[in-house]
């Protein structure tokens, strides 16, 4: 793959990974986050964490099966975006949803 091709690929991947955040921001701006906005944002970020994580994990098998080399160029980028979404998801849950009330959060899972 040419250098220009690789840059174009990464630009597209960045745009695709940032689009869910942009869409979330747009819905927030238009007051379209349902009657329970905190829950909606948490679920939105969690869903996209899983989608991007699955995409990043699919890159190596895709290369193995197809013989293409370009999936490897996206692997780290997608993995880091998955981590970013997971961090945002966790922060929203911790700060907006429960406001650091550790006992509430740990209670049910500590059994």
């Amino acid at each position: 793959m040419t250098r220009r091709g690789r840059v174009a690929l990464k630009v597209v991947a960045w745009a695709a990974c940032l689009a869910p955040l942009g869409w979330l921001g747009y819905r927030a701006g238009t007051g379209d986050l349902t009657a329970n906005p905190i829950s909606f944002i948490t679920n939105w970020l969690g869903d996209w964490t899983l989608r991007i994580l699955l995409a990043s994990l699919a890159m190596t098998p895709l290369r193995t099966l197809s013989g293409w080399s370009w999936p490897i160029a996206l692997r780290r980028l997608l993995g880091l975006f998955a981590f970013t979404y997971a961090s945002l998801h966790f922060c929203v849950w911790l700060v907006l949803d429960h406001f650091f009330a550790w006992r509430q959060m740990g209670g049910p899972t500590s059994r």
Partner: protein, 321 residues
Amino acid sequence: MLIKRGGDIKGGEITDQALYLNRRAFMAGAAALALAPGVAAPGMSAAAPPAAGQPLAATRNKAFDIPDAATKFQDATTYNNFYEFGVNKDDPSSLGGTLKPRPWKVQVDGLVHKPATFDVDDVIRMAPLEERVYRLRCVEGWSMVIPWIGFPLSVLLKRVDPTGSAKYVEFSTLVDPSQFPGQKKGLFSFGGLDWPYTEGLRLDEALHPLTLLTVGMYGQVLPNQNGAPIRVVIPWKYGFKSAKSIVRIRLTAEEPKTAWNKAAPQEYGFYSNVNPKVDHPRWSQATERRIGEFRRRETLMWNGYDQVAGLYTGMDLKKQY
């Protein structure tokens, strides 16, 4: 904190307790009628069947007033769990148009002396319609405050005269994939619930004056997404216990198999009373987010309806969740 009432009633004396509560319901209904003689007239004289969104006359029963502000109508009608339409919160409001709430029959049978199939418009005229403002606590950890319109379920149950062996009441929701898109079988359809959606109560719970047979909310005929044309509301239990779009009410001797209990017995018990001290296996029930508020608030035992505590005297609420 708990105000225990009727603490001398043992758990085993279910029938006696039911009769006791039933009489209270009858007296409360009679008192309401005496205080507001004009109530019956609007319901009785309704010529055309009311459609969703039409105003529905009812007299506010101030005995159930709470200091909490009512949830916005917009929120209460667009943020719903009603899996017959779909698993997303906005599915019931966006897809609810396919449900046809008239004509509608409700079959009431099982262990009763006078089984009957009622037209829903005849059910609505059985008793004066009351408006009651109830808290609604969803098992998912959010809550609303809703002014419902209806009358105690005990009125209908007395009409069919349960036999002495009736111990439970089972509610079934309509099954019709042409009206409920969530019931269609497909490649990506949700496979977690068996249709019909069934729910149930112990007979004494069903006869409790708080248990409301509901046909409206916010001064209107019940919208499709909120369980038109007829549902129950049991305010001290998690919301999924309050069955919607009911076509059958059956009295049984055995505890009914309920939809969520069949799908996930470790997570959703038959009783499912609101209890901040008994957590869901996957999250705490100690707090809730009231829709429209930012901070979580403490969840109240029995959702604040302490008058039901006597129904559960002697029960281990951690085991019979």
